[in-house]
Amino acid sequence: MNGQKVVIALLVCTVVASGSEKITFMSTQLVPIAEAEWVRSELLPRFTKETGIDVVFVGAGYGEFADRLVAEYKAGKGTIALAGGLHGDYTPLVRTLTDLSKEFADLQALGDRTFIPAFVELGRLNKIQAYIPWTQGTYLMVVNKMALDYLPEGVDIRALTYDDLLAWAKNIYEATGDKKLGIPAGPRSLLHRFVHGYLYPSFTGYQVIKFDSPEAIKMWRFVKELWQYVNPAVATWDAMDTPLLSGEVWIAWDHGARLKQAIIERPDDFIAIPAPAGPRGRGIITVLAGLAIPKASPNPEAATRLIEFLTRPQTQVIILKGVGFFPVVKEAIGTAPEGPLKVLADGVMAQASSKDLITAFIPSGLGTRSGEFSKIYRDTFVEIVVKRRPIREVLSRQGRLLKRLFQETGAPYPPPDESR
């Protein structure tokens, strides 16, 4: 029994010991092992050296993140000093977060960083500054160079359309007998983002308004056609880096962070290109990650200092070069990383500078029900494309759920819908 106590004490010591001040930083970002290692060994030691504050970085899944913030909020005391998460992670959790309006004003007063105003605005939830922008990301395509041999003639790879994509994937299939197109469809994949932020705006011009419309029906007929050339194993992939590396997929759509590993391991084999355009334009999503201080934070002062450090232009550039997460302060934008991540950055830049862009945002204001929004688009995809149920029937049923969701929550339609 004594030995056990000693071991428990030792375990506790390894966590608590060393350094006078210690805070916990929990994040849904930078969770994969390689990235988390980088944060612990490269990024945070700089902060510790400067301030003497030790930071314990804890990676968490989205559900775990939310559970813990809610639990600590309800209990009134917590362990998490600072939280790092996506815009969508925070929308159901606003009541657990401190208003950072004052802290944000202080940061601006420093004069060395200019946050992109649209991002700051997104961080204002329920009339408080729920989070301060941290990094941005997007979804795009990564292509194995072997696929370029089958590119239909006259197609500009930097201005691809969905029809080009179909023809391309078809070419590859006819030449090799393999379905080399990849859209992630595993349980933790971001398939729904492809549907509501890429397909819908590109084909109908809107995310929500034209959910059940003649344009949408046409779109789904197209997706069913495209699906013939999608690798049958997509349901097992949450991220497309794995099949890109194994060669099972040559053309993949996914979040930049989920494509990155392929490029890092074999930078000479892949290129990154903008997502395709549809009849209405090139629908893309910009995702925003932010930093928030929970109301139950045991050390808001130290957390504020960490926010200052993480949003500093120099740090933003370090993060870009280290893990390929893009800056949110203007002073850091434009710096291109070197080495393998340059491939990814080039693709992101090319996409961002496309002329026919329709930028979609993940809806805010749905609160605890924002997950249902994703579910509706996912289920629609699976029911129409995979289970081959009648398009009209599925669209009208899921459309009713979607309508009800926005009615019941009173949430505004997400851009581009509201800027009609």
């Binding site: 899944g61 989205y62 559900g63 939310a66 159901p92 007998g177 393999d178 469809a185 595993g186 349980p187 933790r188 049958p232 194993a233 997509v234 349901a235 097992t236 949450d238 194994s246 099972e248 605890t368 029900r369 924002s370 997950g371 249902e372 994703s374 579910k375 289920d379 699976v382 029911e383 995979v386 599925v394 049923r397 899921q398 759920l401």
Partner: protein, 283 residues
């Protein structure tokens, strides 16, 4: 005499207190989730949303299909292995040890192990290739082959969780008095008669325990399903998990959980009713 009447209550008291604190208290909070809105109004809306969900019927179907496929399969396998061990061949101790190995293996790990076999560049495809059956990897785990996905889940669960049934049955088998079996031999009973008329009836308490445990676990199964099939094959527990963990609606998640609970209670009731043990009959 008085202490004897109170004794059983003293013995079960710690269990009752413990479960009241750690299960029933949080549970009652959770039950409220399924029927009450955040404002505290009574509603059936969460159940309505659950029933109208596009995946609900499929999840219900697959939960039942998986359970009625896996549980009997495990019971039969475990019984056969237990009888094999009971022949007390040389090395049966080592054999029992080997068979009990999966007992310590987490369902997450079992899912990953079976994934390494069934994935398109996995061992099974490689073996089929080397044997000359296929040229290109066969996609066992994909939307096109729901049957294979179902089969791989059954195989994974069968592989992982048969050990617990086995251990319960071996423990039960060794409780059976040898005299009874010898008596059966003396009376000239054939092996299958011995099995049917002596061993199985005496094994009933163990069989009942094993059956109830495995059924309840099979109904709640989702980690293996998730690791192998992702969302291809929906199950009720998986839907509860998704609604809770990904779609962030613990009300609907609670509704799924309640449904699972009702099904589990029904199944248990059926087992207890139709597989009564002797001392219960007397009572």
């Amino acid at each position: 005499m008085k202490t004897d009447r109170l004794l059983p209550y003293f013995l079960i008291l710690p269990t009752i207190i413990y479960l009241l604190i750690f299960v029933f208290a949080p549970l009652s909070k959770a039950v409220g989730l399924a029927f009450l809105t955040d404002e505290g109004r009574f509603t059936l809306g969460y159940f309505e949303r659950m029933f109208s969900d596009g995946r609900f019927l499929e999840a219900l179907k697959y939960t039942f299909l998986l359970t009625i496929t896996i549980v009997p399969l495990q019971l039969i396998t475990a019984l056969l292995i237990a009888l094999l061990i009971n022949t007390r061949f040389k090395g049966s101790q080592l054999f029992l040890y080997i068979c009990a190995l999966p007992l310590g293996i987490a369902d997450l790990a079992a899912g990953l192990i079976l994934l390494s076999i069934f994935t398109q560049h996995g061992h099974l495809n490689s073996i089929l290739y080397h044997l000359g059956f296929i040229e290109k990897p066969f996609y066992f785990i994909s939307y096109q082959h729901m049957g294979f996905v179902f089969l791989s889940i059954v195989l994974a669960e069968h592989w992982r969780a048969t050990a617990i049934v086995l251990v319960i049955l071996v423990a039960g088998l060794q409780m059976i008095s040898k005299d009874l079996l010898e008596a059966a031999d003396v009376l000239g009973a054939k092996p299958w008669q011995k099995l049917w008329h002596v061993i199985l009836p005496l094994l009933k308490p163990s069989l009942q325990s094993a059956l109830i445990i495995r059924t309840i676990f099979a109904l709640q199964m989702f980690a293996v399903v998730l690791a192998l099939g992702g969302e291809i094959i929906p199950v009720l527990a998986g839907e509860a998990y998704f609604w809770y963990y990904i779609y962030r609606n613990n009300h609907i998640s609670a509704a799924y959980a309640l449904l699972l609970m009702v099904i589990s209670i029904l199944m248990t009731w059926i087992y207890l009713r139709f597989l009564r043990t002797r001392s219960e009959m007397r009572a």
